[in-house]
Assembly symmetry: none
Homo-oligomer: 444 residues x 2
Amino acid sequence: MKVEILTIGDELLRGEIIDTNKARIAAKLLSCDIEVQHQVSVQDDPDTMLEAFRSAASRSDLILISGGLGPTSDDLTAEVIAKAFCRRLVVHQPSLDAIRAFFERKTSGTRPMAESNTKQAYFPEGAEVLPNAIGTAPGFRLEVGSVHLICMPGVPRELDLMMDTHVLPWIEKRWPGRSVVCERRLRTFGVGESSIEDQLGGLARGGGPLGDVRLGYRTAFPDNFLRLVAHASTVQEAQARLDEASAKIRHLLGPLVYAEGEVEMEQLLCELLRAEGKTVAVGESCTGGLVSELITSIPGSSEVFLGGVVAYSNRAKVEFLGVSEALLNTHGAVSEQVARVMAEGVRERFMADFGLASTGVAGPGGGTTEKPVGLVYLAWAEKSRATRVEKLELPFPRHLHRRLCAQILFDGLRRRLLGFEALGVSEPSVEKSVRSTKQENGLG
Amino acid sequence: MKVEILTIGDELLRGEIIDTNKARIAAKLLSCDIEVQHQVSVQDDPDTMLEAFRSAASRSDLILISGGLGPTSDDLTAEVIAKAFCRRLVVHQPSLDAIRAFFERKTSGTRPMAESNTKQAYFPEGAEVLPNAIGTAPGFRLEVGSVHLICMPGVPRELDLMMDTHVLPWIEKRWPGRSVVCERRLRTFGVGESSIEDQLGGLARGGGPLGDVRLGYRTAFPDNFLRLVAHASTVQEAQARLDEASAKIRHLLGPLVYAEGEVEMEQLLCELLRAEGKTVAVGESCTGGLVSELITSIPGSSEVFLGGVVAYSNRAKVEFLGVSEALLNTHGAVSEQVARVMAEGVRERFMADFGLASTGVAGPGGGTTEKPVGLVYLAWAEKSRATRVEKLELPFPRHLHRRLCAQILFDGLRRRLLGFEALGVSEPSVEKSVRSTKQENGLG
């Protein structure tokens, strides 16, 4: 079976936005063991679109199209497909009713549906309409001889939902008995790709002890992911192979692997804290609220996160975190001493079990010879233990500096909760990790 | 001139990596007034590649190809192009020498060039070789009748350099006197695309009062962008047209347009505050640090941002923001009264000119009949004016809810600083704006 993905939009052809839809469609097809041979993108231009639809139909059996289903005048997909394959455009009354109802529901009846939206209820004759539960643009499937065209919206989450609820189930019914492909992602933090490969040794090589489970790497700052892919005749079998491969890898990498799948570090941390009945509070200077923001992005985080102070000014450090003027004058805001008091102060004042703190020079300005851009002190306080402070010099631009600081704070707390030693800058491994992450991200 | 971009690689077709090369090439071409009509990606499969090269050559005048120039057996671009257009593959001695020298330099003579790398010195007969100063894969340009094929490496920084140093200069020599293309982006917040189109009236239609300046829309939650594109023979002329078109649009849209170009709302706000010598502090509940995080993402924000309190627990609202237990007991944490005291409390305690606050139910859990998920109170406090509190019910998932709350807080302060009335939920326009933004984002 020849499969093609076609995305439509001037903004893609101009390079204004990176087209991620092609990759999302392809990845979903791959989970049904379907490989895509062609990917094409064309402008919102009727002639170019027409030619693209016709040549796709001349070489491919299944064509997945995304974009051009909106209400505006440059959304032409249904119209051009109708023309390309000599169909009339006909109104689909249930879609028209659904779009109208969508508007009425959303505006509580105060705003009538715009005339332009009626356009979204017209489809090439003979098409099967694919409902869109979360937007106004329904998709559709059209058979032209032996070729199947499936048109979906360009909005990523609408596209995802339509693929999951309509397209993939239809594909499985239409072409049954395909083998199953499952993947798993192991999330690591703290070392670069090549260090991971070193630690894995022979396991990293194809045809080795992982059998036919394929191993790949992906850097997703500040993490590195290992991606395992298994083919099998059933999901159970594929999952069993992935379980086995994952266990082997986790045995070698130990605490470097912090989670599997879509679990973010901050989510894991909320789960660990909840399981232990512990709470955390955060005093942030250079991270500027990012640490709080990441934790509170997790639903239910209010059970474990008591709050934070973004102490961007010295006054705030004094007023809210109990840092003394004397300490600020003697050591400066970016110092081990101030980081320590910030973490302890925020923990005490919020009556939390753990206090985290950051103070540093995120740049690009504000650096001095003594305290250069990239210097940061991170601190972890808890009641019954000495406060730990780490000094790091991170060679990253502002936004990555902040993100990495947040992740190091989280990872330190994770390792503490799990009973592992925290990675410290004094240990060679972290130095290496930071450098290696940097090199592999091409930064610095 | 018809232009096509062709990228090659199994990993692209599988959706394992997002192909950014197409967008980089397209954006570079656009600056020379060259619009791309087609973008195609194919697997590292010789038959598919051959067909893709031939069909590209049958419809396009200039074809830019990226990928498949590496040393491994699945790098087939030169070989397949030779075959597709009936050329022999011939060795290019200077390239062979350069590749050999590259290896000797890199390994200080300790590692001989791998045999597989000699492959990278073979090109279709008649090709002009494009040197690669930073990698082992030279590119090449081949004329086939009136069609020009340009092959470049897939490594982004090598691709960029080759585009800049060889391809763009060649294009300018080959097709001199091309017009100049300039673009401008008007950033709006507060209403959806279709409302903007309504407000622009005839201005939105092609061939109308904007002349040949093209107008497009793009939703980038929580904003909507208008994109203007002007062609002219000089940059000055194009900019003058954009100035004129932008002025007409801004006249109609008024304060809806908050900035032009790459200026984010929080950046603009920092500039406005700095210009007025004013400071701000933030008391956040449901936004959880996001407001602080966005402001502090701007370098130099410490001049205008004094800090914030993430008061996720009631205790924090009492301890840090002066909210009384009585108020919390009477009205609950999510209430107009508490939002008001939070904004006033954070302003006073940080001694800031403005205090912003949020308290709401971001969801997905935590809603009640009386205080449903999506309910939020936003507050703006300043010394010499009454505190303003807005109640909104936002129909978005957690992360978008938070992001929209932050933007509404920013936009309210922007309008205050510029002397516009703030958009309030009591005014029909905002109801409409929020709903409209939502619908056009297909969110529900």
